[in-house]
């Protein structure tokens, strides 16, 4: 186990909220709270995944055809970008555990930059869909065998990626908050729960995308002709 190092947590009363007994209890409570919240987030997206599952089973032809209209490269690049941002986030948490606040700040800024790139690409895709009349509603037009069910696909697509993007935006807000904390040295080796928990949130949002990517972009076998 050369890669893992264990270190006792220094007990100090700094940044301890009065209703907790000690910092350890406070940190554990915070971590647990974040995980519980993420469990609720699973169910939040779960509702849409259920809808996806049902319609995918019912209308495979339409889903196949509609996903051919997705921008494969935009999706793939975005996947890489987002996983990259998870890496920088993980490294930021690492740096905060070591108390290196400068590193924390820069790594978080990198995370935010990658997150922004992701949203930029997403916006570009949305624009493309708009131009191609793939936004559900009265202007929806789809050249394919089963346009109505394709519209359901696109409704789900926009709902799922839209809520994912909303989570990204909230994530960016949270990250800028901890950048502020780290820059003001409010984060220490002993007290870095905020970084850790925002990190958990960020990774979770990444995880959602890890599922969205194959489900929306790679639904079925790609027809090489496009």
């Amino acid at each position: 186990m050369s890669t893992v190092e264990t270190r006792p947590n220094a007990v100090s009363t700094h940044s301890l909220h009065e209703h907790f007994g000690d910092l350890e209890q406070q940190r554990e409570a915070a971590t647990l709270g974040m995980w519980v919240f993420l469990a609720t987030e699973i169910m939040f997206f779960g509702g849409m995944f259920t809808a996806y599952l049902v319609y995918r089973m019912a209308y495979p032809v339409a889903f196949d055809a509609a996903s051919q209209d997705m921008n494969f490269w935009a999706g793939t690049i975005n996947t890489i970008v987002l996983i990259g941002s998870s890496l920088t986030m993980a490294l930021a948490v690492h740096a905060s555990q070591e108390g290196k606040n400068k590193h924390v700040v820069w790594l978080l800024i990198a995370t935010m930059a990658l997150g922004a790139v992701f949203l930029g690409i997403k916006a570009f895709e949305y624009h493309e869909h708009w131009v191609h009349h793939l936004v559900p509603g009265p202007y929806f037009q789809f050249e394919g065998p089963d346009p109505r069910h394709a519209e359901i696909f696109f409704s789900l697509y926009f709902a799922m990626t839209g809520f994912h993007a909303l989570h990204m935006v909230i994530g960016l807000g949270l990250v800028s908050w901890i950048v502020y904390l780290a820059a003001r040295n409010k984060i220490t080796r002993e007290y870095h729960s905020p970084v850790e928990n925002v990190g958990l949130y960020w990774h979770f949002v990444d995880m959602v995308w890890i599922y969205l990517y194959p489900l929306l972009y790679l639904v079925a076998h790609k027809h090489v002709s496009g």
């Binding site: 554990e28 709270g33 519980v36 919240f37 849409m48 049902v54 359901i152 409704s155």
Partner: protein, 547 residues
């Protein structure tokens, strides 16, 4: 009776340690937040009750003469939404749970006090959105928001109402989150899980449902709003969308949600029955685990609301079967409460009257739930007044009576004052009578075939409806009484002292009202819950001596 000291010297407590509107609106004290909830929830109860009165008045005669049909539809919709999402779901957890859970486990506060305050603000935003939707025309979809009516055909304020439900849902999630983390991480030394009061157990079970169920309705209701706003088509049948998909997602939450409403009440009953029987609860671990079992099994039965919706017959069989399973832990609880009274030393104080009422009415509501779970019967009684009677028996006869029991039981702890016992008993009796007169006839009229959500009905149903309306008026009196005498008691009530009933439980070991930090020093628990063997009897009531 040594505790019946009259507080001549004002001691510092959570109520008088700070003054001013800011000290309330920005408080992170779980007790004050509990009170904020108490005020807002009581308001919403009377708003919902006002709608109920209008419904009952309209139904006095078969013709739709008092309200227009659209207005009537809005009335029962807003009655349902307000009562369910803004009153009953937050009621016990957010008022009594907030106040008591930290004290019962010997903690200074919930794990995340700021999030607790946030959850109240979210509740208020949700409530204001719903009120705004009422003012701007109300939703008329029924509290169930069924598609495609809600998405395409209704032209009422569905979006604001949906957003209100969405936002208040997050309030509920955050309360649940706080409870779970608090109970895992903040228990006082010696407060093991097997020593935890059953009220905490049931709030824990409730929190599980709030956490794992609420997000699903949040997204579902949001999709309805988006479908109205942007014409996306996830539930649109013209595009091949399945209207039953909405129902699955809706009930995935809303069935478990009925246990959000009843479980905390069950917790209250466990506390009250033990205290007023001066006895340890019968089968502590069975009652505790039954709460968890109800919470978990409750997630497996949702489609019993869809037996005639056009669902697969096989799915109906599965869901019917699973529904019966959830009846078992409820039966366990009912029998254990009854057995707790056996060979007890029973006091018939107001909370106990409510508790006994709860057990009986919950049993009726519960067994009629079994009727509904029986496939062959549900085909006939689905969406009739039989269902309306079933759920009012559980929600009003069960959950609301439990809430009343809890409010009376802990009123001295919360305010430091006793409620007037005689008036309390009178009100409890009035509510019990009015309630049964209101809702029992609905079982009959339902089986005879009167559909629910009917603004006018065929004449032969009238007599039973007249009973029902008469009962509702008595019920209204029954609810207004406590409102009056509880207010009265704030000023004129007897001083309660720390433990007026000589009850067990950590919350009774501290002053009434409790100090800001609950306990002057962290208690260490060395005894089991409900250790009534070592408690003196309940002291006699005293006359009002002090004003």
């Amino acid at each position: 009776m040594a505790s019946a000291v009259h507080n001549v010297v004002e001691t510092k407590n959570y109520l008088n340690s700070d003054f001013g509107i800011k000290s309330w609106l920005l408080t992170t004290d779980h007790k004050r937040i509990g009170l904020l909830y108490l005020v807002s929830i009581t308001t919403m109860f009377f708003v919902g009750g006002f709608f109920a009165m209008l419904i009952r008045l309209e139904l006095l005669t078969p013709a739709g003469d008092l309200l227009q049909s659209d207005t009537y539809n809005k009335m029962f919709t807003m009655h349902g939404i307000v009562m369910v999402f803004l009153f009953l779901i937050p009621s016990i957890p957010a008022v009594l749970g907030n106040f008591l859970v930290p004290m019962m486990i010997g903690a200074k506060d919930l794990a995340f006090p700021k999030i607790n305050l946030l959850s109240w603000y979210l509740y208020m935003i949700g409530a204001l959105l719903v009120i705004y939707s009422i003012v701007t025309g109300s939703a008329d979809t029924g509290w169930t928001f069924y598609t495609p009516f809600s998405t395409q055909y209704s032209n009422s304020a569905v979006i604001t109402a949906a957003l209100g439900v969405f936002v208040s849902g997050f309030s509920s999630i955050l309360t649940g989150l706080n409870f779970v983390v608090t109970m895992h991480r903040m228990r006082a030394p010696g407060m093991t899980w097997s020593r935890m009061p059953l009220f905490c157990w049931s709030n824990y079970a409730t929190a599980l449902i709030q956490l794992l169920g609420t997000p699903v309705i949040a997204i579902t209701i949001m999709l309805v709003a988006l479908e109205r706003l942007f014409n996306i088509g996830i539930f649109n049948p013209q595009l091949g969308g399945d209207p039953l998909l909405f129902q699955h997602l809706f009930w995935f939450y809303s069935h478990p949600a009925v246990y959000i409403m009843i479980l905390p009440s069950m917790g209250v009953i466990s506390e009250v029955v033990t205290c007023f029987s001066r006895k340890r609860i019968f089968g502590y671990s069975f009652v505790a685990l039954a709460s968890i079992a109800i919470a978990v099994l409750g997630f497996l039965v949702w489609a019993h609301h869809m037996f005639v919706a056009g669902m697969s017959v096989y799915a109906s069989l599965i869901f019917s079967f699973l529904t019966f399973l959830v009846g078992v832990p409820s039966a366990i609880k009912t029998f254990n409460w009854t057995a707790t009274m056996y060979k007890g030393s029973v006091y018939l104080h107001t909370p106990m009257l409510y508790a006994m009422g709860f057990i009986g009415l919950f049993a009726i509501g519960g067994v009629t739930g079994l009727f509904l779970a029986t496939l062959g019967i549900d085909v006939h009684v689905h969406d009739t007044y039989f269902v309306v009677a079933h759920f009012h028996y559980i929600m009003v006869g069960g959950a609301v009576l439990g809430y009343m029991a809890g409010i009376h039981f802990w009123w001295p702890k919360i305010t430091g004052k006793m409620y007037p016992e005689t008036w309390g008993r009178i009100a409890a009796g009035t509510i019990f009578l009015g309630f049964n007169l209101t809702f029992f006839p609905q079982f009959i009229v339902g089986y005879v075939g009167m559909p629910r959500r009917y603004h006018s009905y065929v004449p032969e149903f009238q007599i039973l409806n007249v009973f029902s309306t008469a009962g509702a008026s008595i019920l209204a009196v029954g609810y207004i009484l406590p409102l009056i005498y509880l207010f009265w008691s704030l000023r004129y009530g007897n001083d309660a002292g720390p433990n007026p009933y000589n009850a067990t439980g950590l919350e009774w070991t501290t002053a009434s009202p409790p100090p800001k930090e609950n306990f002057h020093e962290t208690p260490v628990v060395t005894w089991e819950a409900y250790d009534y063997e070592h408690m003196p009897p309940i002291p006699e009531e005293e006359p009002v001596v002090h004003r």
